[in-house]
Structures are given as C-alpha cells and as structure tokens.
Amino acid sequence: MTTIPEEEIAPDIEAGEAVPVQRAARMRPGARHLIIAGVVVVAFVVPVFASSFVTFQLTEVLIYGLAILGLNLLTGFNGQFSLGHSAFYGIGAYTAAIMIHNYELSYLWTIPAAGGVCFVIGFLFGLPALRLQNLYLALATFALATAMPQLLKFHALEAWTGGVQGLVVDQPEAPGLLSKISDDQWLYYVTLIVVLVMFACAASLIHSRTGRAIMAIRDNPIAAAAMGINNSLYKTLTFGVSAFYTGVAGALGALAIGFVAPDSFTIFLSISLLVGLVIGGVGSILGCLFGGLFVLYVPNIANALSTGLAGAIYGVILLLVIFVMPAGAAGFVRFAVARAAGWRRVSPKGR
C-alpha cells in the first residue's frame, strides 16, 4: 500500500479523499453535494424509463458497488489486503437463501441478518489476521476464498446449504399497494435504498474520529499507536464492518439472482471485486459504484467484441483504463474537475 502524505490525515480532511490529491484539486462542498443529489435523483428515475432487463443489470451494479465498498473500507481505508471477500459475499448470500428457503422468513429480515452474520465472522477472522501483514494476509484471505465453495458443499451442512445443487430463493414481489411497480423495479428500489443508507453510513464513518483512526493505522501503524489508537481493536472492527457490507451485498445478490450455488462464490469473484476496487479508486467511496459498473459491463463488452478472445480484450480494456485513470475513476474525476477549474498543479499519482 502506498503511504499517504502527512497533510492528508489532517483533521479537517474531507471524507473519502484518501487518494493523494492536492487540496486545490478539491471540489467545493456545495458542488459536490449538488452532484451527489443529481446522481441520486437520476438513480430513482432511471427504472421508470429503462427496460426491466436494464433495471436488473443496474441492480447488480449497485450490489457489486456495495460489495466493493466493503472491500474498500478494509483495503483502501485500513490498508488490510483481502482476497477473501467472495467468501463474505457467499456467506451473506447463503444466509439470505437459507432464511428464505428453509425458514420462509421475509426477505427484508435477511438483509440485516446476513450483515450481522458476516460481521461476526469477519471480526473473528480479523483476530488471527492481526498477526499477518500485507502479502501474508492476502494469502490467508485467499485460503478463505478457496475454502468457501467446498465448505458450502460439505456433507454435514448439506441440509442447510443444499450442497452442490444450491438453493432456489423466492424473489421479492412488489407489495400490493404499489402494483404499478414491477418486481424488478421493486428490487431495484429496495437495493437502492439499502445502498444509499450504507454509502451514507460509510461516508460518515470515514469522516469521523473513528475513520481518521482507521486511516491513520493504514498510513503509519506505529504513529497511530503512539497517538493512543488501539490498533488491534480498530483493525478487527474494520474487518467486521467490511464483511458486514459485503455480506449485505451478498444477501441482495441472492435476492436479485434468485439462486445460490457454491460455484457462484469462487476466488474469481474476489478478484472481480478487487479489480472493481482499483478501477473505482482505492480509498474512494463513490468510486465503488464505478467499480460496480466496470465489473458488470466490461466482460459483456469484451464478449460482444469477440467471444473467442473475450479474456484478452478484457485484459486490454483493463490496461487501458489503468493507463488513463491511474488513480481510479474517482481520481480521474477529481483530476478532470481540477483541470476544468484551471488548476495545473494536480497530478494523479498512480497506485
């Protein structure tokens, strides 16, 4: 992880701005809020005009964005590397599926439950992870991701998980009062509201004293400890919160797809989330949504260009994006805004 220049952890820093940028490059808060408000309004209006398939795709973008935000809290803000988030996503999805399939509970309960289960597991996994640094932590979480599909197939758990056959999840239906809304639109709005609340919570967490502590640990753990921050506690809690976010995304994913199987939650999902994280912008909250767009659409674009060479084209697009936006989408936007405003001092530093 790259370290962040000293002035970046000054108390008055604006949240979500962990990527190194000169202060001059920042948008004024008013403009920033205006843009966010605009995006939210568009997000609410889009399904009215979009086809149900596009609505479904956008739901998936939001879900991936939320999962990437979970990873970003851990990796981008706290500096702990994870290749294991497919496991938390899977645990969240299975929690929702089991509650709906085996116990016939309402889908709304599954969202906090999946988050809670993942928080506990993430917190517990964070304890041994404390002893591991950087690449070793990556390997430990990689092990988690590799183990997850097999655990889901494990014989003793088959009564709950359905083993290799997976579980069918009844999808939410729009409530009777809102009969004009299709099921796809309903699921989109449920997802959108959950995502908005959770993005807002993440932003306020990062703005807070706790958020500054989390980032201080990333930047210099010894200095952070010297300032009186309980590194172990914050790191394990961040692990738990990160798993909470990704677990909620998993539950929403199970609702959107209507089916869970061990093959849905392999290491490839972890890698996709990591790609989305870097593309969106390490340490950027809104960038996560761009990461979600990339994860969903770019493989489709690559496939549309050539079925046989889809993997190669995906790689080329990925490289191009990294060259054009070395600090991710969020860094690119800041850079563009600064340019437009006439500030020349800005240079997006690569990560």
Partner: protein, 407 residues
Amino acid sequence: MRQLTRRTILAAAPAALALSVPFVSARAANYGPGVTDKEIKLGNTGPYSGPASSYSAVPKAQTAYWKMINDQGGINGRMINFISYDDAYTPPKTVEMVRKLVEDDGVFLVASPLGTPCNSAIWHYMNEKKVPQLFVATGATKWDDPKGHPWTIGWQPNYQSEGRIYAAYILKNKPDGKIGVLYQNDDFGKDYVKGVKDGLGDKASMVIVEASYETTDPTVDSQVVDMKAKGVDIFVNTAIPKFAAQAIRKAADIQWKPLHVLSSIGNSVGATLKAAGLENAKDIISDFYLKDATDPRWKDDDGFKWWSSFMDKYIPDGDKTDQGYVAGSSLAAMTAQVLKQCGDELTRENVMKQAAALKDVTVPMLLPGIKANTSPTDFAPLKQVQMAKFDGERWTLFGDLITGAVG
C-alpha cells in the same frame, strides 16, 4: 370492368378486409417472439472463459452447426440466428446473460445452455417466463420434471441412470463383491453414487468405500490405495479424465486388479486411457451413448463421416479428439429436429409440444440403435447406453442397449 364503380369498390373493401385480416392475424399468431418469415433467433450460454472453459467446445460446435444449416438454406426457409454468450460457468452471469437473451435480444428459445449450476440458476426464470430451455447440456437427473418445470427438457442419459446401469451389471456379474466408488465432490459425482446405491437396492451395503476428490486435488492415489487395503474388488471410477487416469495407473502400480467400471465422462481413449497407459486399462468396463471420435471403427460410418467433414469445413482448428464437439453438434442437431417438426407453427408452446413428441429420433453421432424418445410425461430424451470393454487398444461394445431410466 364497367361494373367496377366506386360504390362496388367501397362495398367490396370491407369484405376483402374481413377475409384478409383473419388470415394475417392467424399467421402472426403462429409465430412466437424471435421468429419471422426469414429468421429464428436462438439463444445459448456457455463457458468460453473461467474454470470450465474446456467445455467451450460444446457451444462452439453448436454455433458451427447452425452456420452449416444456414449455408444449406436454413430450416423451412428460415435462417437461424444463434446468439451465444459467455457465462464463465458462474450462475449469476448465466442469469444475466439469459435475461439479456430473452428480454433484450428477444430470442425464441434458449438452446442447450451448459452446466448444472448454470441451468439451475435459470430454471425458475425460464419456467416463469414460459421460454423453452431446450435440451440442457448437463446430465443431472432433475431436468426430467415435466409437471413442475414444463419448459425445461433434458438431453443426455443422466448420471443417476448410468449409476444404476453399473449396479445392474455388477449384480449380474459379481453379486458378492465389495464396491468402492471414486467420485468428484460435486453434483455429478454425487448423482453417480446415488444411482449406484439405488440400483443395488437392498444390496447397497455392498458399497464399502465412498471416496471423493476435489478438482483441485493433486492426485487420487491415497483413495486408490485405501480401497485396495479395505479389500474392495469392484472399483467404480466416476472421475473426470485427469483423475480417472491417475486411478487406473495407481491401481496398476500397486498390482490391484478389481473389476474396474469407468463412467462415461472419463472413458475417452485420448484423454484418459492413453495417459494411464493403455496396457493398464485393459479389461475396464464402461458405457457409451455417443460415438467416440477417436475410435477407428467408425471411419466408414456415415454418421462419423458426416461429422468429420463438418469439423473440417466449419471448425478446421478444432481438436477432433475433444468429445465436446461431438456432443455440441449432436445437441444442435436435436434442436434442429424440433424446429423442423414445428413447421410453420413456431410458437414456444409448439416447441415444447414437439420436444415432448420425439419418436425414435437419431442424430449422426449417437451410437447405432440409440434413439431419442419423449412424451408429455417423459422429458429425458436419451436413456440408452451400451456397455463396452477395453481390449488394450480400443473399446469393444458388447451386449444390448441398456435402459436405465430414473423416473
């Protein structure tokens, strides 16, 4: 001509309209979504990337098959527009791509999507939307469910019925043996185990070892050694080629000579037996429903000659020892048969009606005598296999065709 006044024309017009309108609308009603006078749009998903990309031969062969059909003038004069998307063998991607096919591309039906988890993920959706999920490219048993899922139909003999066929063979030839089963810790592996046990019925206790492996394991040597140590004398080997070959070689290394039954997924001469050493594979028993493309016995067979020329012309860079091309072209040929049977009544309802009314249908690369049969209560088109014994060089088919249907 003088009689043709304005008034008579005015009077005649509604009559003409009345005659022509029902004709037009009746004709329109005969087409489902994705069908025109010129074209039928078909959808498909397959693993072009990801961990199962070695199966991509199956959708590639289908794509090539439809190209050939179009070169020959299409089906009943309509060109086939075959749209195949990559799902990387991940169920969420399958759902997304199939929704794109159905809602965005507006395909008439989805033909032979590949993979058990992938088909499971769209199973509910297809049946809710009433879009045919025709001849799925997986051998799970659950696709034969005409009552619960009338829009989904299977294709190949399912793994459970294969397991039953092995059980029947064992009961007949070695009824007092001790059975060890090697299986992949996975859907099809477990289907095989269930089939064998169901087939043994009250003699299921003959199975004394059930050893599983993961696709990520380096070897299955310890499982094989363990079976020998426990006194197993009937070895049911349902592993995929890599592990099946290891097991055959290990058994030879430790001088273990059980009655060795090898499942159809691991019985390729090129992929398994050569790797294991042909001399080690002598006397192994297996079962077939498609012609083995590497078997020289078929070189004068009309079906094989057709397939070989099809490969040369449409997939010149394809590996002819890859059975995926055999399976893919056979799947597409079966779909073509259903579309032909539909004639000009190309509705989704009629597709399922015709798919459930296959009578002794055969396609070039099925073994001689094996025929696809379905009925409104039977959605398992292929049920027959033939046993074969390996003579050290090639498989020799023996006995009659065996049916092992699981209802």
